[in-house]
């Protein structure tokens, strides 16, 4: 189990770093586009498509496993906090499994979508012809790791009462932010 956890943490951390890079690049790219348009009247071609396909998609899908790792998915806790510990544990396991089914289905569907789009050589025609099938592969990767994370947590909760990650900090030291939310 420990080696599975290490592999999962490595993937989760790696994807998170890629997401951070996409986020920072998105900011720089949009800023540069505005600057070029304003100062030298020459906007960067295809900014809109690149942002949509190559920054937004990784920014949303790559950190999903990390969000699960630090338990940051938004839930409604009205009833939960009043339940006895044993009920909480089993209910947790079932919820993890239901989430695994949902994201597992999404992984499968998006993988099929990416595969077909690769065979077709999917290209978006705009100011520049942008190859978009590689971006489609980000979905099955991001949600695939999330699904494995959910199943791993469910299995760990079933066989042991210890907290799933014990005192192992999340990769890169990412924590539940004290200012999460809106």
């Amino acid at each position: 189990m420990a080696s599975i956890r290490r592999a999962l943490d490595a993937l989760t951390g790696g994807f998170h770093v890629l997401g951070m890079i996409a986020l920072a690049t998105m900011m720089l790219h949009i800023t540069l586009d505005v600057a070029c348009r304003t100062f030298i009247s020459a906007p960067l071609p295809g900014t809109l498509s690149i942002v949509s396909h190559y920054y937004m998609v990784p920014v949303v899908y790559l950190p999903l496993a990390m969000v699960e790792r630090i338990d940051a998915h938004i839930t409604v806790d009205i009833l939960y906090q009043h339940l006895p510990a044993t009920v909480q544990r089993w209910q947790n396991i079932l919820v993890q499994l239901l989430a695994a089914v949902y994201f597992g289905a999404l992984t499968w569907l998006s993988a099929g979508d990416a595969w077909e789009s690769m065979l077709e050589g999917d290209v978006e025609m705009g100011q520049l012809a942008l190859l978009i099938w590689p971006a489609r592969f980000i979905l099955p990767f991001g949600m695939g790791v999330l699904t494995v994370m959910l199943v791993y947590k469910a299995v760990r909760m079933t066989i042991s009462r210890e907290p799933v990650f014990g005192n192992v900090p999340a990769p890169l030291g990412v924590g539940q932010s004290d200012i999460k939310g809106s």
């Binding site: 998170h16 806790d77 239901l98 949902y102 890169l172 200012i179």
Partner: protein
């Protein structure tokens, strides 16, 4: 069973799943997919899930959400806004309850660079609460003020909630942002007035601080706030001056925040990484819920439920004011228990068609909903701002004490909501005037 009945039952199932602590994103998605599979065909449900999961996210205008989030997180992590409270304190501490009023002023300033109420409350409780307690302020008043003033964060532009509403309801973001300025300032004013009246009646709540600020000090402090002024000027000047679009404004704002933090010397590798990382986890959790809400919208429309509700309520021929009042009650009740973003995305699929049928101005509705969601951040039993403030202050103040201090602010908030409904011009005058 008719499609309509199945649709209605799905909403019951949705609530049940949510109460069982299924993540909001999963509950929305599962209910919609199963529902579509039953009323139409499983293959349609799969096809929709497959296309929406990519097409919804690969979207240019939605890029403004992570970019505005990033701008706020950079300001918070690099402490760009700490000078604001000092400035407000020097100018306002002479008033009764001056430090509390200075906190409200500081919050209004911070709100202009962050789209998040929680970030706003967190930043203020770090700086303002210790100062108020040192001066012998009532604990409930001190913590209540920062929790409540924090809600200005999502009202005064930029605002993540308004951004999401605008994209979802297809209302121009720029107009919504300007529309929220009036209600935002009115809220700040109402809070300040309420604090002053309370302190006038019970002076022991907030002993005078005796800060002998000279005019030289006061003008000196303005110099300290240049980072915020520069940022606000850069973002909103460029936005309303037509140099860039609302979608691009977030990226420019985030970039400017980084540059200013670097100039100020507060940009560290750790704060950069922290800001990027927090933006990323917030963005992912917001979008995965939004995807579920998209699916629910499609499903409820297919089941005919949205039309049904809009028709039924439309047939009652209620005035827009009555409908707004009814919706206000619903939002305040939901806000007591649920996360604002969750409520927004859960209710828009059902309420937007209704609002359209009844003829409520979409800019007014958007700003009003956000204002109501903000009240939900400070009402018990689940008041997210209160928990954040409590989390930062630790054991100095009990949660109950904060909620007690907040009741007065909720009362002031309700007056603001009533005024917003009674006088739509509070929201609509500025966007109308600016075209």
């Amino acid at each position: 069973m008719s499609d309509l009945q199945i649709g209605g039952l799905s909403l019951v199932a949705l609530v049940l799943l949510l109460v069982l602590r299924v993540p909001i994103a999963v509950a929305l998605g599962v209910v919609s997919v199963v529902g579509i599979a039953i009323i139409i065909d499983p293959s349609i449900a799969w096809a929709l899930l497959r296309s929406e999961s990519y097409d919804f996210v690969a979207n240019w205008s939605l890029s403004s959400v992570p970019m505005f989030l990033l701008m706020g997180y950079v300001c918070y992590q690099a402490r760009l806004t700490d000078g604001l409270f000092r400035l407000a304190r020097l100018w306002l501490s002479g008033l009764p309850g001056g430090l509390a009023i200075a906190s409200i002023g500081g919050a209004a300033g911070f709100s202009a660079v962050t789209g998040s109420s929680v970030a706003c409350a967190a930043a203020l409780s770090r700086i303002a609460v210790p100062e108020m307690l040192k001066s012998g302020y009532d604990k409930g008043l001190a913590a209540g003020t920062v929790s409540a003033a924090g809600t200005l964060g999502s009202l005064i532009p930029p605002s993540i909630l308004i951004l999401i509403y605008g994209i979802y309801a297809e209302v121009p973001i720029g107009k919504l942002f300007i529309g929220a300025v009036g209600p935002g300032l009115l809220t700040a004013f109402a809070f300040a007035l309420m604090v002053m009246l309370r302190v006038k009646i019970t002076p022991s709540l907030a002993p005078p601080t005796g800060v002998g600020a000279t005019w030289a000090d006061r003008f000196d402090a303005i110099k300290e706030t240049w980072p915020v002024l520069l940022l606000v000027l850069g973002v909103f000047g460029g936005l309303f001056g037509g140099i860039f679009t609302p979608t691009e404004a977030g990226a420019i704002g985030a970039f400017l925040a980084f540059v200013i933090a670097a100039m100020k010397g507060t940009l560290t590798w750790a704060s950069t990484r922290q800001a990027l990382s927090e933006t990323l986890t917030s963005t992912a959790s917001i979008f995965i819920i939004a995807l579920g809400a998209r699916l629910l919208t499609k499903y409820l429309a297919l089941a005919g439920l949205t039309d049904y509700i809009a028709d039924e309520v439309g047939a009652l021929e209620l005035s827009p004011t009555t409908v707004m009042l009814a919706l206000a009650v619903i939002y305040v009740l939901l806000g007591m228990f649920l996360d604002p973003l969750g409520i927004l995305l859960l209710t828009l699929p059902i309420f937007l068609p209704l609002v359209d049928t009844v003829g409520i101005e979409p800019i007014l509705f958007g700003v009003l909903v956000v204002k109501l969601l903000e009240i939900g951040l400070i009402t018990p039993p689940v008041g997210i701002n209160v928990f954040v403030v409590k989390g930062i202050l630790g054991d100095i103040i009990a949660t109950e004490t904060i909620f007690r201090g907040i009741l007065w602010f909720v009362a002031a908030d309700l007056v603001v909501v009533a005024l917003m409904i009674a006088f739509p011009a509070i929201t609509l005058a500025l966007p109308g005037w600016l075209g």
